[in-house]
């Protein structure tokens, strides 16, 4: 059981906790060290900065201290960093140059040791940069500051990697230069061998830094990658869960409520099955562009409206135009007629795309009728099917026998010139609506 502190307790804890030193984000000029110290010690910021700059004069002590603080002190986590005011940096650079100038003029005699001090400062800055960059806190800080947009962390981390490499190499160069310089300065012989020694020392030093930081780096990168993979998996899971929740669970709930109405249950189950199948298997095609997709849409509409199953098989595919659209509309009318009048649970829809013509067959095993006895006033068949097909240069035949069902045959001659991509890229599969009685 986790102890959850009450509001009062929390207040007390916050009050008692000693104030910690953070690098300031609000008032930073370089890294917020000076501002952080000033805030911590309740001193004026400018004073602290001037102190740092003046300390540069003592063999680079200012830089050394600043680097040490930067490496060790964590940044304040509240709020996004403000933009640095680079203009503010100028006076301090000027002061620093002045201090160095004075030092050079006044303490010129102490040449060698002063140079060595500077070089040590350079090494310190380089190591500080490397250490600082490899600290995992830095990465964690990114995620902590922006918890509401986790992807931003990844983006930032990603782009941060380049900056990371740049600074790492920069730091390494500084260390190398410093070490070479120190060895060269202290070498009794000011010759080429000293520089070679320096290079060797520098390499050893760099290798040392590398050995120290490599495990940390490796762990950080691994952790980062694992997190990214986890995020992708989580996203897929969430998408699937949303699909199941939005569609499947709701449908199942509706089915439970409609258990007494088998027709409604069948319609719901069929619609859900179609959606799930499409989602799982089917490449999506636009019903306004492809013949097969348009037929599937029509079949789905009829299924939903009339609660029966349309067993659709489409062989081949092509693009649509006005005439093909008319064929689809006539197919729809034929399906609706079958659903309305045949009194069956299943209607077959078969369509085939051939180079020179499109054929559609709508067949049911229902009541059937005698075509000769259909009254002239019935426009469904004559207008919507036969007439429409004739207007667009196609043909419609209706074969029906009372008692053994009806078949509507629609054909539409098409020119090869507007045939879509061709036999190399037929539509992946005939559509996958599930036929069957649904009684099992």
């Amino acid at each position: 059981m986790v102890h959850v502190p009450s509001a009062e307790e929390a207040a007390i804890t916050t009050a008692i906790e000693p104030p910690r030193l953070y690098r300031s984000r609000e008032q930073r000029v370089v890294a917020g060290v000076a501002a952080g110290i000033a805030h911590h010690l309740r001193l004026p910021v400018v004073g602290v900065r001037v102190a740092f700059v003046v300390l540069i004069g003592f063999s680079g002590l200012g830089v050394l201290l600043y680097a040490a603080f930067w490496a060790v002190v964590p940044p304040a986590t509240a709020g996004p960093p403000k933009r640095r005011d680079l203009g503010e940096l100028l006076p301090f650079v000027a002061i620093g140059l002045g201090v160095i100038l004075i030092q050079v003029l006044v303490f010129e005699s102490s040449g060698v040791s002063a140079t060595a001090g500077w070089l040590v400062a350079v090494i310190a800055v380089g190591t500080g940069i490397i250490w600082h960059q490899s600290a995992p806190e830095r990465r964690r800080a990114w995620r902590e500051t922006l918890p509401q947009v986790p992807w931003l962390g990844a983006v930032v981390d990603e782009s941060d990697r380049r900056a990371f490499l740049l600074r790492f190499i920069g730091g390494g160069l500084l260390v190398a230069v410093g070490v070479i310089g120190v060895v060269a300065v202290y070498s009794p012989r000011g010759d080429f061998a000293a520089v070679v020694n320096g290079v060797i020392f520098a390499l050893v030093g760099l290798a040392g830094v590398g050995v120290v930081t490599a495990p940390v780096l490796w762990r950080t990168f691994n952790q980062l990658r694992a997190e990214r993979e986890g995020r992708v998996r989580e996203q897929e899971r969430a998408e699937l869960a949303a699909m199941i929740h939005d569609q499947v669970l709701h449908t199942l709930a509706l089915i439970q409520r409609n258990a007494a109405d088998p027709k409604a249950v069948q319609r719901l189950a069929r619609g859900q099955e179609r959606t799930l199948r499409n989602w799982l298997y089917k490449p999506t095609a636009s019903p306004t562009e492809r013949f097969a997709a348009a037929l599937e849409q029509v079949a789905a509409e009829v299924e939903d409206t009339f609660g029966l199953s349309v067993e659709a098989v489409v062989v081949g595919d092509r693009g649509t135009d006005e005439r093909v659209g008319a064929l689809v509309a006539a197919t729809r009318e034929a399906l609706v007629n079958a659903a309305r009048h045949a009194g069956v649970q299943t209607v077959s829809l078969y369509a085939e795309v051939e180079p020179e013509q499109l054929s559609v067959f709508v067949r049911d095993r229902g009541a059937g009728f005698d075509p000769a006895r259909v009254g002239d006033h019935r426009h469904g068949v004559r207008g919507s099917i036969v007439g429409r097909m004739r207007r667009h240069g196609g043909r419609a035949e209706i074969i029906s026998t009372p008692g053994s069902g009806t078949e509507v045959r629609l054909t539409l001659p098409v020119g090869p010139e507007n045939r879509q991509p061709g036999p190399q890229s037929p539509r992946p599969t005939p559509e996958r609506r599930q036929p069957g009685e649904g009684q099992t």
Binding site: V315, G316, F361, P423, P426, P435, G438
Partner: protein
Amino acid sequence: MSEPTSQPAGGAPEQPDGRRLRVFLVDDHAMFRTGVRAELGAHVDVVGEASTVAEAVSGIAAVGPDVVLLDVHMPDGGGRAVLDAVLRGSGVARPSVRFLALSVSDAAEDVIGLIRAGARGYVTKTISPDDLAAAIQRVADGDAVFSPRLAGFVLDAFAARSDTPVVDPELDQLTNREREVLRLLARGYAYKEIAKELFISIKTVETHVSNVLRKLQMSNRYELSRWAADRRLI
């Protein structure tokens, strides 16, 4: 896939000698096996069940059923693995058992894949019990169970390559008659309606359908991989 295109046979299917058909169930969902067993109990003898590929292979070898109802998607390889192990397994004499795939999936790759592996038919789990019993009977008799959708897949597959150079026309090309039969099947005609329409006997229709199935199974690998590549199945 749906009900087989023949009209459901009346009464319980029986072998010529009056023996009831022996059926073996392979499905990893116990509930579904129970349901099928209950539904089929009146028509056939369910002589065994298996929920994994290994169980199925040893079970089929042990009981020697007439027909195996085979689920397509199972862990460790599914129906394909069972077919491969039983029909092409090493050391075992090829048993005279026939396979009917019974799956919730009617994706082209599943259907064609199972047929090519040696299943004699493919129906989906929404099929009605009577139709399933009829399909089992037909498979046991040596016929193929060809649903409209399967016919559509086959037409699609052969149409897609009809204008490419055919390597082995004897084997890979459908005859016009076979194509006509398939078209009528895809339009929802029953075998006897096809026979009436084409003025041939039902037996001839069945022969055509069996030939199509044989061609589908024996199409050479070049065509198969081309077909699959066209559809981005591999």
